[in-house]
């Protein structure tokens, strides 16, 4: 991993179209500004990892679950309307 030391206000350029700027350092927290093209997906790493894990744990259901739930859930959504 490339490690660079930066001060507040200094930046890092990645390729032609991504720029990171250190906006603020406070306590143990760093605020980073990111300029990147719209089609570059930017997420906090842990959020991405959580969604990955959630998707994976969403594949463990059974057809029994589905038919059982369908009864209760359809009633709920009707009441909600």
């Amino acid at each position: 991993m490339l490690v660079l030391t930066r001060k507040v206000g200094e930046g890092i350029i990645i390729g032609d179209d991504i720029k990171l700027t250190v906006v603020e350092i406070k306590g143990g927290t760093v605020r980073i500004g990111i300029d990147a093209p719209q089609d570059k997906k930017i997420y906090r790493e842990e959020l991405y990892a959580q969604i990955k894990a959630q998707n994976r744990s969403s594949t463990g259901w059974t057809l029994d679950d589905l038919s059982l739930l369908s009864g209760t859930i359809s009633r709920k959504s009707e009441e909600n309307k």
Partner: protein
């Protein structure tokens, strides 16, 4: 018609009708094609089965069944991935998690945007939306004695308040 294996047995499907995820799903980036399976029972749940991996099937629902104001618009680059043009319609769907004790949650942070015109879909992440990846279904208050129950536990949960 083609035939694939699934956790639930053999599934026959029309290859023209598969739902195509050009980027796969988050955590399943290699899985691009899914067969849409209607639920045998009535209700808002249905499921999609991966064509490429028999083990992967996900339950989906239209979240507006539970959270009527939930709305996600595709961004410009997402419209491109979906092959959307002009006034083409889209739907936001969410992944349903059924945990081992049959507790059901919806992932409102990572909806699947679906363009019916092209049969393409993309899972997007809503950064800083305040939604939860494990949003419980809204509780319908039935007991007449507790008209203000809503202001209790659910008040800090934005998703519940919105629903």
């Amino acid at each position: 018609m083609n035939v694939i294996q699934s956790r639930f047995g053999e599934i026959e499907y029309d290859p023209q009708a598969v739902l195509h995820f050009p980027h796969g799903l988050i955590g399943f980036e290699d899985l691009r094609d899914f067969v849409v399976m209607p639920n045998e029972k009535d209700g808002p749940l249905f499921w999609i089965q991966s064509v490429e991996d028999a083990q992967v099937a996900l339950v989906l629902t239209d979240p507006t069944n539970f959270f009527p104001t939930y709305m996600v618009e595709p961004e410009v680059h997402e419209r491109k991935v979906l092959g959307m043009e002009g006034e083409d319609k889209w739907h936001a769907l969410v992944v349903v998690t059924v945990d081992t004790d049959r507790k059901v949650t919806l992932n409102l942070v990572a909806p699947i945007l679906f363009a019916p015109h092209t049969n393409r879909a993309i899972q997007v992440i809503l950064e800083s939306s305040g939604y939860s990846i494990q949003t419980p279904l809204p509780v319908i208050e039935q007991s007449a004695g507790k008209p203000n129950a809503k202001s209790g536990e659910g008040a800090s949960e934005k998703t519940v308040a919105r629903g």
